[in-house]
Amino acid sequence: MTSNLSRRRFIKSVIASSAAGASSAAWYSASAEDRPAGSVERLVTLNINGRKRPVDVMPQETLAHTLRYKLGLTGTKLGCNRGECGACTVLVDSVTHYACSMLTHSVRGRAVTTVEGLQDSSGALHPVQQAFIDELAPQCGYCTPGQVVAAVALLRDNPNPTREEARQALSGNLCRCGAYDHYLNGVLTAAKRMRSMGQIA
């Protein structure tokens, strides 16, 4: 918790963020009730997409749960909720993680980026997002946020990947529609555009 924030203001903002998020007030009050004695602090501030997000977090809560149901960031999808499919891929300190298999408490003090945090301040799409549109990469679109995040992470580490390197880097993200070719086309198109713009974000 930031020191210049009073506890009352913090709780008020938690409630506000919960209400703004996907979860209902009933969900919030229910979670506040079964607080185990002596457990980790529940009221935490997370760094999500460059913003401070105060939120009430249960000890056993996964990052995907917090993002989706408390912060309203439903772009992070739950395809399996057990680390098989990659639809919930987010960046934690620039490294890809399955948000379904990570406790929210473990990201305190770390920078989390979700698919919603990739557009720049003017709302312009990240080059990966634009390239995915141009290559008609998504089909049903459910795995797309995870594919986008995995591709962004790859291009930060390797601005000029081969198709084979891109394939390896995205191999933790399943796509049942089988849009793999189009995603790889998108990654390579984005890489090319980013190199020509000198922009490796």
Binding site: G21, A22, S24, A25, A26, W27, S29, A30, S31, D34, L73, T74, G75, T76, K77, L78, G79, C80, N81, R82, E84, C85, A87, T114, V115, E116, L118, Q119, L125, Q129, F132, I133, E135, L136, A137, P138, Q139, C140, G141, Y142, C143, T144, P145, V148, R163, E164, R167, Q168, L170, S171, N173, L174, R176, C177, G178, A179, Y180, D181, H182, L184
Partner: protein
């Protein structure tokens, strides 16, 4: 032809939300006061519910209510039940509990005591056909469109399981031609037994649903392949009138046949919400999706095919035991027969079908249901016959390829058009077939090259559905699409047929889709690869109606005959004096003041009730173009594909790499190149899954599924498919579609399955496994000469 839209790529309006995460799938919605439902599913493969004691659960703080089979619409076996007192597979939903949060609902489930009486069960169709075999349901063990009991003699079973010509009775049969004469004319006669695994659809999005009631209307946020087509069925399930259903399915996270129309859990939150007076969200877990999410019909069968000296297919005798699971299913066998009848044009053919119920995941249509299983069986046989006759596998297929005079099915009905030989030749040239096929069987250390070609078919078009377009006084063309957003972008691409006819810039088009409140016309099912053919027609018909009305309005306003008027640059003008005309905006404004049929105050009587409601909702807002597609169609609309594969098989590990893959579409005029590419490549990925990866296994002792996770069922990942897949299309217009298009999504899978299996076979000197999936252990067993670890017809094998 110089076209504005058809054959051109465009940016579909829903894609921005997909890449930014703003797209809302059913589970992403939330409303005030929403509670969460969880399902109590059967731990037994077949049982009778004797008693439900929910007292302790309902007394828990935060628990809001319970829903049982007694609260929902009744069903008659084998129709799918919403909730049941006779669960027929492990995972069958018995009841649901709602609570203020999911954890409480889950905890409540643990406090519910369900007293179950175990009933006999079966997980292998053949076991049910044994003289004392168990029946999957109390009403019977087979479902040839009615439930009944059927058993084979012990000797019939023994012959069948050893892969010999079946002697057991088959309740369904069709045939045409003189089968005996066909085999007499054959130079080569092949007999093979086969097994194709019926594995799960496993869409990425578990099928979550949110429902609530407001002002007497039931709002359902769901995930379905179709949009308007769902409405009558879902309304009937909920026991309400269509006008009282608000159905939102703006995005669907994959369906592949498992979400064609209304399915039971789609109606569950509506029932629950009505009972407890709160909005209800039902989130389905990945494991539950393997239960309620459907699977392909499995085949165990036998086939005998005759080939003349020149390579013509002279006769086919096909016998299929279908694994239907415990509920209504079973068109796959007949569709398989239909596919053989069109792709190879045999002189005579017989299909016998034994549709058997099992206590396994409910089955339903899955991408090319029947056609794609049989592609995995028949195409490798074509290669075996070619080898016996000394023919090139490609020439063998050219010789039998359907053209526009082809016929199909038992009635040997006509088709709209077909250019399969053109597809084979186009692909062969691009793939460099004649050079590559020489490499088949070449060894390089432990690796051996395999080269294969495969064909796919699916009927790919329907007719008789409605189109609805609207021109508003701001000059915008509103395209109302009742087509579901299943990920093919056909909800958008088919509307471009209307924009094409009306010559409207895409920037001036506004798409309406995904929500009944958007006033959407009646539409076909988004399945059976039909949408492209069906809805380019319906949109064309609606646009034609709008065009004629524009001309009449212009003639009325400016003088002359409507026949003197034409359109260009979003103006309707007098062809004798182009300066005399009205802008589209002006025409729309005039339509509003004219009223009547112009602005939707009245409409044709033959449009569907769903479309009538849509027009009523739009009346007075602009110039309405609406109509039912009554354009002629001369027969079945074929979607045809060819796949070419080169693989490298490692004989030591049994694993193979796909070096190159080419998909060829023969689907009439290409409407949306990127979308077609996506379907061909995605179909190839599915084909690879069927050929060599995807499993579906039940424990015969306890009826427990062993395939309830991605890591167990193994859908293809990036690393299982080629680094890039090439595609092309024949692009010859179909005469029965105004833009020349046919559909193609499903066969793209079958041809890929076939090409991979043929390539594997060619790497192994022509050996046929007659089974999907062909996994590395099958290959290692074969190569080491030690035989397989299971009987020829066994299913549920690893």
């Amino acid at each position: 032809m110089n076209r504005m839209h058809i054959g051109k790529d465009f940016i579909p309006p829903d894609i921005h939300g997909k890449v930014t995460g703003k797209a809302k799938y059913a589970e992403d919605y939330a409303v005030d006061g929403m509670v969460y439902a969880r399902l109590y599913t059967s731990p037994m493969p077949h049982a009778r519910v004797k008693n439900i004691d929910a007292e302790a659960a309902l007394a828990m703080e935060g628990v809001v209510g319970i829903l049982t089979a007694d609260d929902v619409y009744p069903t008659e076996a084998p129709a799918p039940a919403l909730l049941t007192n006779e669960p027929v597979y492990v995972g069958d939903p018995i009841l649901a509990v709602a609570a203020v949060d999911e954890k409480t609902a889950e905890d409540a489930l643990k406090k519910i005591r369900v007293d179950l009486e175990p009933l006999p069960f079966v997980v292998d169709p053949v076991d049910s056909l044994r003289p004392k075999g168990a029946s999957a349901r109390l009403e019977g063990n087979i479902y040839p469109r009615e439930m009944r009991e059927m058993r084979w003699a012990g000797s019939d079973v023994e012959r069948f399981v050893s892969g010999q010509e079946p002697t057991g009775p088959a309740p369904t049969e069709w045939s045409y031609g003189d089968l005996e004469a066909g085999f007499d004319n054959a130079e080569v006669v092949l007999e093979e037994s086969f097994v194709t695994t019926g594995y799960a659809h496993m869409s990425m999005e578990p099928r979550s649903v949110l429902s609530y009631w407001q002002n007497g209307k039931c709002h359902v946020y769901g995930s379905t392949q179709s949009q308007s087509f769902v409405v009558p069925f879902l309304a009937r399930m909920l026991g309400i009138e269509q006008k009282d259903l608000v159905f939102i399915a703006e995005y669907c996270g994959g369906g592949f046949g498992s979400k064609i129309s209304a399915y039971p859990v789609l109606a569950l939150p509506g029932y629950f919400s009505r009972k407890i007076g709160r909005p209800v969200m039902l989130r389905i877990t990945r494991e539950e999706e393997y239960y309620v999410g459907s699977a392909r019909v499995g085949f165990q069968g036998w086939i005998k095919a005759g080939f003349t000296k020149t390579g013509r297919v002279s006769a086919v005798d096909l016998y299929i035991v279908q694994d239907l699971g415990p509920k209504q299913a079973g068109g796959d066998a007949s569709s398989a027969g239909g596919a053989v009848s069109i792709l190879y044009q045999p002189d005579a053919m017989r299909l016998r079908d034994v549709p058997v119920l099992t206590n396994t995941t409910p089955r339903g249509p899955q991408r090319g249901p029947g056609q794609n299983q049989i592609a995995a069986v028949f195409e490798p046989m074509m290669d075996k016959a070619a080898q016996a006759l000394g023919l090139d596998p490609l020439d063998m297929r050219r010789l039998n390829a359907p053209d526009s005079s082809a016929t199909l099915n038992a009635n040997q009905g006509p088709i709209t058009s077909a250019y399969m030989e053109e597809a084979l030749l186009k692909g062969a040239e691009l793939f460099n077939w004649s050079e590559r096929i020489k490499r088949a069987g070449q060894r390089n250390g432990s690796k051996v090259t395999g080269v294969g070609v495969g064909q796919g078919y699916h009927s790919a078009g329907a007719s008789g559905y409605d189109g609805l377009v609207r021109l508003t006084p701001d000059g915008k063309l509103h395209l109302h699409s009742g087509v579901g957003n299943l990920g093919t972008y056909s909800y958008a691409s088919t509307t471009r047929a209307a924009a094409e006819l009306l010559k409207v810039n895409w920037d001036n088009c506004v798409l309406h889709y995904g929500n009944t409140e958007e006033h959407l016309p009646w539409s076909s099912y988004q399945a059976g690869s039909n949408t492209t053919f069906t809805h380019t027609r319906a949109n064309h018909v609606a646009a034609e109606d709008l065009l004629n009305k524009m001309k009449r309005i212009a003639a009325e306003a400016l003088g002359g005959d409507p026949g003197n008027y034409d359109v260009a640059d979003e103006r309707v003008f007098d062809t004798r004096n182009a300066a005399r005309g009205l802008t589209y905006a002006e025409v729309a404004a005039r339509a509003v003041s004219l009223g009547g049929e112009y602005s939707g105050e009245s409409y044709p009587e033959d449009i569907h009730e769903v479309t009538q409601r849509a027009v009523q909702g739009l009346a007075g807002s602009g110039l309405i173009g609406v109509g039912k597609d009554k354009l002629p169609v001369r027969g079945t609309v074929p979607g045809l594909t060819v796949g070419f594969a080169e693989i490298e098989l490692d004989l030591e590990t049994g694993k193979h790499e796909i070096i190159d893959f080419l998909a060829v579409a023969e689907c009439g005029t290409v409407v949306h190149p990127q979308g077609l590419a996506g379907q061909l490549r995605g179909g190839a990925v599915w084909g690879i899954g069927m050929a060599s990866l995807e499993r579906h296994v039940y424990d015969p002792q306890n009826g427990l599924p062993a395939s309830v996770g991605y890591y167990q069922t193994k859908p293809p990942s990036y690393l299982d498919v080629p680094t890039s897949t090439e595609w092309t299309a024949v692009d010859i217009a179909d005469p029965d579609n105004p833009v020349g298009a046919r559909g193609v999504g499903e066969p793209a899978m079958g041809s890929a399955t076939a090409a991979i299996l043929c390539a594997l076979s060619s790497a192994l000197g022509g050996h046929l496994f007659n089974r999907t999936p062909v996994t590395p252990d099958l290959i290692v067993n074969h190569v080491s000469g030690q035989g397989q670890s299971f009987d020829p017809m066994a299913i549920n094998s690893f």
